[in-house]
């Protein structure tokens, strides 16, 4: 099998065993061969091959970075200049971004080769990848199952070994849940760590860009590049991010890992074994486990599904049929233009969340829902602050189940909302959180989740890296039958 990790590709490039053009041609061919996954909304062979040729020239000039010449792809919610940028919505079906998102610009500046834009749940609203206006993404491990969402294409493209790494976004679990369903490592950094400039907004106090790859090493490489202050984003946190080697070098022996048992009791029985094994593995690495509870964290779902739709209903008011995006035919007046353009352009789940958010922000219900949800958010934030006085990091399940079947929960929004119950608390508190593969159940990957105090991404990357030095779950790949139809 050809190398499919970022580290292995980078080493092969450095050793002169391959070229950026060869890796890019291979990635484009794999993407074409796996069209049925619907992981990509847009491939850009011409630009990708031009970038690959430039990367090979740069390498010869001796100015290459670890990412120079590596084929990558980004969720189609990141603006990339001149490319279609749709957020998987009919609303933006014909829109091309006039500039690069900061995260995209940093990848390009490092010489990475962006081969295309990846499918997602429309405007990142979903937990299955089925809410895309351009069709669902399939899970490479089992094409009858969902890859998770909303960064569905970001996970499927890595799991199918098309590219070694991708960018996703995580508002309530949208990097970690698909990473868990597809056997990958996925990092949602601290809120404010990765610039939101050029990242199409869903819920501005929760959205955070991050990376998915097979290993913590590769995720660290991507995060160290895209993270760090950006003056273009008014919520961008101060400071830079350490290099990947430093991020992975924190000693893990002697750390105390908090384990909220009530979260583990709430998962499907099929996940219990792998998660229990993972706890034992951490202990074998010299990590102490400490049982604790996280008051209010179990109530994160209703708080999130007030706050996120409220912010979405505001953010998505920009899609008015005037400045960009879909416009209805022959509007009778301005109000008709707004109503029909939005009614035609948005999909069912997006409309549901706009309606929910509008309700929560309405006169008479604002205090009962929006303000109360903000108070619960404060309690969850404080709950983590207290926990981190006793432990260095936390270990939780990522998901309640393994990847479920396509269509299984499509008509049950509440069942889908509950999918995020273990991932949402980190978003509400703005904490860094990472999902890593900790085993398999009936051939499907199982994810475990690590959380750390704000700005301590290095701690959970180091824990994941140490875990992956002692296990081989991250080295498993979908069968040929799964990977190639």
């Amino acid at each position: 099998m050809s190398p499919d990790t970022l580290k292995a590709m980078s080493a092969a490039l450095a050793a002169g065993e391959t070229t950026a053009v060869a890796l890019t041609e291979q990635a484009l061919a794999k993407a074409e061969a796996a069209r049925d996954l619907n992981a990509f909304l847009h491939l850009n062979p011409e630009n990708a091959l031009a970038a690959a040729r430039a990367a090979d020239t740069r390498r010869k000039a001796g100015t290459a970075t670890a990412l120079t010449g590596i084929p990558l792809a980004v969720k189609d919610i990141f603006c990339s200049e001149g490319d279609p940028t749709t957020a998987a919505s009919k609303m933006l079906a014909n829109w091309r971004a006039p500039y690069d998102a900061t995260a995209v610009a940093r990848l390009k500046a490092a010489g990475a080769v962006l081969i295309g834009k990846l499918n997602l749940d429309e405007f990142a609203m979903g937990a299955s990848g089925e809410n895309s206006a351009f069709g669902p993404t399939l899970n490479p491990w089992d094409r009858t199952r969902v890859p998770g969402g909303s960064s569905s294409g970001s996970a499927a493209a890595v799991a199918a070994s098309i590219v070694p790494g991708t960018l996703g976004t995580d508002t309530g679990g949208s990097i970690r849940q698909p990473a868990a369903f597809c056997g990958l490592t996925g990092l949602k950094p601290t809120y404010g760590r990765v610039s939101r400039w050029g990242m199409i907004a869903f819920a501005s106090s929760l959205d955070q860009g991050g990376a998915l790859a097979w290993t913590a090493e590769d995720v660290a490489e991507l995060f160290s590049l895209i993270g760090g202050h950006d003056p273009k984003d008014s919520t961008s946190a101060q400071g830079t991010v350490a290099d990947a080697a430093t991020l992975l070098a924190e000693p893990v022996a002697g750390l105390t890992l908090g384990v909220p048992e009530s979260f583990f009791e709430a998962v499907d029985g099929a996940l219990q074994g792998p998660l229990a094994d993972a706890k034992r593995q951490f202990q074998a690495l010299g990590v102490r486990l400490k049982a604790l509870e996280l008051p209010f964290a179990g109530d994160a779902v209703p708080a999130y599904y007030v706050l996120a739709p409220a912010e979405a209903s505001t953010n998505l008011s920009r899609y008015d049929g005037v400045r960009f995006g879909h416009r209805c035919e022959n509007p009778a007046d301005l109000n008709d233009l707004y109503r029909r353009s939005r009614g035609e352009g948005f999909g069912p789940e997006v409309k549901r969340r706009i309606l929910t958010g509008t309700y929560a922000l309405s006169v008479g219900y604002y205090d009962a829902y929006y303000r109360q949800a903000q108070r619960v958010r404060r309690c969850i934030f404080d709950s983590f602050t207290t926990a981190f006085q006793a432990v260095d990091a936390l270990f939780l399940p990522t998901t309640p189940t393994t990847a479920f079947r396509l269509g299984e929960k499509r008509d049950d929004p509440i069942a889908l909302y509950e999918e995020d119950r273990f991932t949402i608390p980190a978003n509400l508190a703005g904490l860094p959180a990472l999902s890593l593969p900790v085993g398999f159940s009936q051939g499907l990957p199982v994810g475990g989740q690590l959380l750390a105090p704000h700005f301590r991404e290095g701690r959970i990357l180091s824990l994941a890296h140490a875990f992956q030095q002692a296990t081989d779950y991250h080295q498993q790949r979908p069968s040929e039958q799964g990977a190639t139809p």
């Binding site: 829109w95 091309r96 006039p98 809120y191 404010g192 106090s205 003056p231 008014s234 919520t235 961008s236 946190a237 101060q238 109530d299 209703p302 708080a303 599904y305 007030v306 008011s317 049929g321 005037v322 400045r323 960009f324 995006g325 416009r327 509007p331 301005l334 707004y338 109503r339 939005r342 009614g343 035609e344 069912p348 409309k351 549901r352 706009i354 309606l355 929910t356 509008t358 309700y359 929560a360 309405s362 006169v363 008479g364 219900y365 009962a368 829902y369 303000r371 109360q372 903000q374 108070r375 619960v376 404060r378 309690c379 934030f381 404080d382 929004p413 509440i414 909302y417 703005g430 704000h454």
Partner: protein, 126 residues
């Protein structure tokens, strides 16, 4: 606690709030169910044209969702201050220096209708 808008308060509302009050979501009875009329009002506020089938579907699903959201009301949050952002420190402000927009044409290229740098909309004034 749901607050009911009274006339005195209504009288001092800013225009946008007065508009919201006009649609008077708060005039509803306790919304155990978001009936189709309630969804129509929300759709009006949201500037969303919905079909009758969509309205019926959202009436059902939003009613179900509200039963989940209503769990919030029973949580013992005490006097916890509302948290709007998880940022632990205020982000740094950039220097207040105006920068010219150099890609106006590119920014407007995605607009449905423009003319000479202006966005075109249906006639507003009679």
């Amino acid at each position: 606690m749901r607050t009911l808008l009274n006339k005195e308060k209504h009288g001092s509302l800013a225009p946008a709030q007065a508009f919201l009050a006009l649609f008077s979501l708060n005039r509803w009875k306790r919304p155990m169910a978001l009936d189709p009329d309630a969804i129509r009002r929300l759709a009006t506020l949201s500037r969303l044209a919905l079909s009758d089938d969509e309205i019926a579907g959202y009436s059902e699903s939003l009613t179900d969702i509200l039963t989940v959201l209503d769990r919030l009301g029973g949580l013992p949050v005490g006097d916890a201050a509302p948290l709007a952002s998880p940022l632990t420190e205020p982000p740094p402000l950039r220097d207040d220096i105006a920068e010219p927009v150099t890609n106006r044409e590119a920014l407007q290229a995605g607009a449905p209708a423009t003319d000479n740098g202006f966005y075109l909309v249906p006639k507003v004034l009679p």
